[in-house]
């Protein structure tokens, strides 16, 4: 917890300058502001809504010059006040700081700064003058020059232009971090406003390039992502969130043919020594993403996949009406284009062990095993050998195999799917397409509690799936080894718990029978225990998933890292891909330093995350309503029997229109530290 000597945040003034520092009570909401990295004191913090000074003797003007330089560098240059104002303010502040401090120049700078804040088009210009203006409004005297010894000129223009500098001036070092609510919400930290900008600017290749900085599966993500970014989108406060996902799909589809030519082994600039080989276990989203980043860093990478095709859960678990298989396959090809090899039909624990990999000379291993074992219901009458009973994962896999032409299944009659997640929705909608006459979803909580995307639930409903909320299976009924029905029990809601979720208990005497031919248990998945054995040195955690360090993803065994569903439990595509990226960074560090280094950007994210610096604000001025692009879909009556992709692509004109809805809520955060922030991979 840090003690604020003086500062302003959200208009609230903190002024403890006339007190002794030890008398100032640390602010609990500023937990984590003491040190940036080990032993490196945070002297000041500047952000979109004000600033804090934590140490005596901080050169506030210097901190503001650096912040202004970053703002000028980040200005997109479209609107007049931000383009010109940020550069002018930067230069004038630098002059005040270095050459002459005169009140007339200060007043002119202030006038320009107010103009930038009041008249800029987007969030960057509207917010980047706040630290300066709050200092001018409340702590003007702190900007006057200290009568200290002459300042060292710290490389003037160079630093003005670069902004992101770790140069010292007066024993102050700065690190800047530019972000937006959508970026922070994204597990992979995709620079969302930037890729939307590039669409608007007419540079779709660049737009896709921004996405490809984080993972190779842009078209896949553009179809099935759960869109944490859209939940965080500030446009929600005006009308509806920007169609971030649909724009991603648009650029990925548009550039589909040419982007294949962008990758080749020759394009990797830095080659790592040949012996630094890395094995990636699992060609799912986590594994592919990890392999992609390691290949880009120049490592020799081999991928081992248990099944006969890439994609993991994205291939077998996501039906083709949401994600056509060729889209996924095309994106997995990037691994080969970069010189990586994928070995198929190689299952860890069955065909080889972790020790085998180490023995074959791999210096690091990434485990992206997935979580592909389904869980049964655990109710009376449930026998795994019953005909008509299966887990959701197994069912989706069979559907997938069937569509691939590998042995078909027939489905008819009444199908009951148990569960409320996206897998349950995928099972229900796939069951319709496989020929079920009736599909029922049974979920023990209420509709609003369902973890599945609302769009998925609605699509299933439109296609005729019947929902039974606050209902649980009590017993499986069967005759001669075949399912004949399921006994359902109504559930009662209790009081919400600490997480806001309400417990449910069975209502007495509510049992009834639903006749059916098939029961699909889509209530959860686990890691295949056979893949890891005792001697591997990798441990399972409490919930039956692999144990790894949350920051570095390293397991108990040195050189072995884990990520994706096998580490987090069944989760989202984007989280798995983010894990792959994180593990690649950790492996790179491990192979070169024997340890995972400090990552300044991650640290910065934690600081602003904990401080809730980005938490909801209001939108001050009226904004024109421009409604979100409507994605055309196949008619429910037609599509419910087809595995053709349901959502249609948007047109170029629609993409330009949708891109223009982005409010560009960029914000700049700066820490001023005592010593330089370690220069490691960002």
């Amino acid at each position: 917890m840090a003690s604020v000597i003086y500062g302003v945040w959200d208009g609230k003034i903190y002024d403890n300058r006339d007190r002794d520092i030890f008398e100032v009570a640390p602010l609990p909401e500023l937990a984590g502001f003491d040190f940036f990295n080990e032993g490196n004191v945070i002297k000041a913090f500047l952000g979109d809504r004000g600033f804090f000074v934590f140490e005596p003797g901080v050169d506030l003007l210097d901190a503001l010059v650096r912040y202004a330089a970053k703002a000028a560098e980040e200005s997109c240059g479209k609107c007049t006040p931000c383009r010109m104002g940020t550069s002018l303010v930067r230069d004038k502040l630098a002059m005040l700081h270095r050459e002459r401090f005169d009140t007339g120049l200060l007043a002119e700078t202030e006038m320009l700064a107010r103009h930038v804040r009041q008249t800029s088009l987007c969030g960057l210009g509207q917010s980047c003058m706040t630290p300066l203006l709050s200092a001018l409004d409340h702590f003007r005297d702190m900007l006057a020059p200290a009568p200290a010894p002459a300042r060292r000129d710290d490389g003037g223009r160079d630093h003005d232009r670069r902004g992101d500098d770790r140069q010292a001036a007066n024993g102050q070092y700065a690190m800047h971090y530019v972000t937006a609510p959508c970026i922070e919400a994204c597990p992979a930290k995709v620079n969302v406003p930037r890729y939307i900008d590039y669409i608007k600017d007419g540079k779709p290749s660049h737009s896709l390039g921004v996405i490809l900085q984080k993972y190779p599966m842009a078209a896949t993500c553009g179809r099935v992502c759960v869109r944490f970014c859209e939940q965080a989108c500030r446009r929600n406060m005006v009308d509806e969130a920007v169609g971030i996902k649909v724009l991603k799909r648009y650029v990925a589809d548009l550039e589909q043919d040419i982007s294949r030519q962008w990758f080749s082994p020759d394009m990797v600039c830095t080659r790592q020594p040949d012996h630094l080989r890395v094995a990636v276990v699992g060609a799912g989203p986590a594994g592919l993403s990890c392999a992609y980043h390691l290949l880009l860093k120049g490592y020799p990478v081999e991928v081992f996949e248990a099944r006969d095709e890439p994609g993991g859960m994205a291939a077998s678990g996501i039906p083709s009406y949401r994600l056509p298989k060729e889209v996924l396959r095309g994106e997995a090809e990037i691994i080969g284009r970069l010189g990586g090899r994928i070995h198929y039909n190689a299952r860890l624990g069955r065909d080889y062990t972790l020790d085998d990999l180490m023995g074959r000379g791999f210096k690091a291993v990434f485990l992206g095993l997935g979580c592909d074992k389904g869980r049964l219901l655990g109710v009376d009458g449930e026998d795994p050998d019953l005909s008509g009973l299966q887990t959701g994962i197994d069912f989706l896999l069979k559907v997938h195999e069937c569509l691939q032409g590998n042995g078909c299944m027939t489905l008819g009659g009444v199908v009951v799917v148990v569960g409320g997640g996206n897998v349950a929705m995928d099972c229900a909608r796939s069951a319709l397409r496989m020929g079920a006459d009736e599909v029922h979803v049974v979920y023990r909580r209420d509709k609003t509690d369902m973890p599945a995307d609302i769009e998925e639930i609605e699509a299933a409903r439109e296609e005729g799936v019947v929902f039974h909320f606050l209902t649980n299976p009590g017993r499986i009924l069967s005759e001669d080894g075949r399912i004949t029905g399921v006994e359902l029990v109504s559930m009662l809601q209790g009081e919400p718990d600490a997480n806001g979720r309400r417990s449910v208990v069975a209502r007495p005497d509510s049992a009834r029978v639903l006749r059916c031919n098939e029961v699909i248990a889509a209530i959860g998945q686990q890691v295949d225990e056979d893949s890891i054995s005792q001697g591997d040195g990798v441990r399972f955690g409490r919930r039956g998933f692999l144990d790894a360090d949350g920051t570095t993803l390293s397991t108990a065994r040195p050189g072995v890292f884990a990520g994706g569903d096998c580490y987090s439990g069944p989760s989202t595509l984007i989280k798995a891909m983010a894990n792959g990226l994180k593990a690649a960074r950790s492996i790179d560090d491990f192979l070169h330093y024997g340890r995972v280094r400090f990552f300044p950007r991650s640290r910065m994210r934690r600081i602003i995350g904990d401080f809730r610096a980005l938490s909801n604000e209001s939108i001050e001025t009226p904004v024109e309503n421009k409604y979100r692009v409507r994605v055309r879909e196949l008619d429910p009556e037609v599509r419910k029997r087809l595995f053709d992709e349901v959502e249609k692509p948007i047109s170029t004109e629609e993409a330009y229109e949708e891109a223009s809805r982005c409010l560009r809520c960029y914000r700049i955060y700066s820490v001023i530290t005592e010593s330089p922030v370690p220069d490691s991979a960002l």
Partner: protein, 621 residues
């Protein structure tokens, strides 16, 4: 849904509907708000210049907030003030900031006197320019690689109108927004130069550019050199659309035919021979009409017209597969040029080497066209210089000629100056088709159309279709007329995909046709305001002509009799037909190239980031 709501502007009540902007409501109520980037004719309000500041007080609030009128919606009960001292001060500062990185060499600027930035500086009462930094403008590019269009980014104010027109009106989408911060401006797709890019040189971007950032290449100096050189014989031609869109520059009413004054002006300049492109338009109908009838008999369909050079560029650069369907007949300008250096000197007893052909065109792409290598004889260009309408106006002013004060005169050349009504209507969308139908009908049936004005072919929709019975062994033909490249793109894609059923397709790249060409006079803060007046004037010329079918042009008949023989003769093929080149640029790049070019990047692989050479990596090795 469409409830009328109330608010006030400067204390006066105004009514508005949902999502009306403050600017729209203010304009309706007669309250002037200075604007710069906004262009309502193309529904463009990107909100980038930030000049149209007003103060609003929202109901329930006391403190005024500064917003831009162009993209802020009206709200019930809102009080808008457009001219408080704070508003005026901030509008002034905004324009001052725009000037800070604007190349202010106004006296030498091509847009001198016709500049919307100069206007807005006056509107806001700007009296100083404190922040001007020449070093900020000098580093921005000036692209002179196109024969037609000069792009000078030191003068760009980032209004994005050009991008909008190229993208939304024309559907070419060759322009992109590029760079950030002070380096932000307009570039060509894939970082190409203007010349090598997908730009088709239609010039519609120039019509909307508020400053001198986009302009035609000025060639008035060359023309004055020609006029001054006693050895040179100058031969002038001017386009069908020129005469109906030129008077307004000299204070005459828009849409008035000033053909006679133009002839006088050229003679005053000292032109040796003054001729008319309309004559060549009649000739094109003969060649293209016979070519089309031949192709129809061979069952080759459809045939696209070829007189629009921006369309030819579009086909060659964006859809080379369509080229076999484009008529081989040269444009009127180039037919004229080829004859002006062969037939004309033969008839007039002149030395062809001394002849210099100057065209005056409402078109920037004609400059491009005149430079094509196939339009040369013995290394000399058929058309030596093309002046756009704007340059012609500049030329007259440089020579002190006031068109409005001139007495009209008439053509006096017996070889290449006479025209029919069919040649006259070439300047508007549908005109080429109508002229062709008149002559083809006559060729097939041996008699002329009952109604010479074919209303079915006229109109303003960007793609129009019609079926006409040509009779004889040809019968019904399916026709399409498209103007504005966005509609053209749709029809080209339909043809390539086998979805279209047409025999003859007229294409004009500029919306409206040549009467609204990218080389014509531009109008401040408006886009094509005189489209209808100019078009009406052109049809009026047709109506007044004694002969209204190209094959009736006696000078064309004489040309065939004395020189060419008949349409599609060997000599015709040599002088009046051409071929096309596939010019699609294939872009080869890697993801690294893209990553290096991405600004404001959050790249995780520092080794790909040019701005940040992998410090840690290098130290290690």
């Amino acid at each position: 849904m469409h409830d009328t709501m109330q608010a006030t502007i400067n204390g006066t009540p105004v009514t508005f509907q949902e999502n009306d902007t403050i600017l729209e409501a203010a304009r309706r109520g007669g309250h002037f708000i200075p604007t710069l980037c906004e262009l309502s004719d193309i529904d463009h309000a990107p909100g980038t210049c930030r000049v149209c500041l007003v103060e609003i007080i929202r109901p329930g609030s006391e403190s005024p907030v500064m917003v831009t009128a162009c993209n802020t919606p009206m709200e019930p009960g809102m009080a808008v003030r457009t001219r408080t001292s704070r508003v005026r001060e901030m509008q002034r500062l905004q324009v001052e900031l725009i000037l800070a990185d604007h190349d202010q060499d106004c006296a030498t600027c091509t847009r001198h006197g016709d500049c919307e930035l100069q206007d807005v500086a006056q509107f806001v009462g700007l009296r100083q320019s404190r922040y001007t930094r020449p070093d900020w403008t000098r580093s921005r590019p000036r692209d002179e690689t196109s024969p037609a269009i000069i792009r000078d980014m030191g003068k760009c104010i980032r209004c994005l109108r050009c991008v909008e027109v190229c993208r939304r009106e024309q559907g070419v989408d060759a322009l992109v927004f590029t760079g950030t911060s002070l380096q932000a401006d307009i570039g060509m797709r894939n970082n190409l130069s203007q010349g090598a890019s997908d730009c088709v040189a239609c010039g519609q971007c120039i019509l909307v550019c508020p400053t001198g950032a986009l302009a035609e290449r000025d060639e008035t100096e060359t023309v004055i050199d020609f006029l001054d050189d006693p050895e040179v014989i100058t031969v002038f031609q001017f386009a069908p659309a020129l005469r109906v869109g030129f008077g307004e520059e000299f204070g005459l009413a828009p849409g008035v035919n000033v053909e006679g004054q133009i002839i006088t002006a050229l003679r005053t300049l000292g032109a040796d021979v003054v001729l008319d492109t309309n004559f060549a338009a009649d000739l094109v109908i003969m060649e293209e009409g016979y070519e089309l009838l031949g192709r129809l008999k061979e069952g080759r369909r459809p045939t696209f017209t070829s007189c629009c050079p921006a369309w030819v560029n579009f086909a060659e650069k964006l859809y080379p597969d369509i080229l076999p369907f484009v008529s081989s007949t040269r444009s009127p300008q180039q037919c004229f040029g080829a004859l002006a250096k062969t037939y004309l000197p033969e008839k007039m007893g002149l030395d062809p080497k001394r002849i210099r052909v100057v065209s005056i065109m409402p078109c920037t792409a004609k400059k491009d066209e005149a430079q094509r290598t196939m339009f040369r004889q013995d290394g000399a260009r058929d058309v030596d210089v093309v002046l756009t309408t704007r340059e012609f106006a500049r030329l007259l002013k440089r020579e002190g000629i006031n068109l409005a004060a001139l007495e009209p005169s008439t053509f006096d050349n017996p070889y290449m100056a006479e025209y029919t009504g069919a040649g006259a209507i070439f300047g508007t969308t549908g005109g080429v088709m109508e002229a062709a139908v008149r002559t083809m009908y006559s060729v097939v049936n041996g008699r002329e159309l009952e109604r010479i004005e074919v209303e079915a072919l006229r109109g303003f929709e960007s793609v129009r279709t019609a079926t006409i019975d040509l009779g004889g062994d040809i019968g019904e033909v399916r026709l399409a007329m498209c103007h504005g490249l966005k509609g053209v793109r749709a029809i080209v894609e339909d043809v390539l995909a086998g979805r279209a059923d047409f025999d003859f397709i007229e294409v004009m790249a500029c919306p409206g046709g040549c009467v609204d060409g990218g080389g014509h006079l531009r109008s401040k803060k408006h886009y094509q305001p005189y489209a209808r007046k100019r078009r009406d004037a052109i049809y009026e010329i047709d109506r007044q002509m004694p002969r209204r079918q190209s094959h009736e042009n006696p000078q064309v008949q004489r040309l065939y009799k004395d020189f060419l023989g008949q349409p599609l003769s060997h000599l015709s093929e040599e002088l009046l037909h051409t071929h096309y080149i596939r010019r699609r640029t294939e872009i080869k790049q890697t993801i690294n190239d893209i990553w290096r070019d991405i600004t404001m990047s959050t790249l995780v692989h520092s080794e790909f980031d040019a701005a940040e050479p992998a410090a840690s990596r290098k130290r290690k090795e």
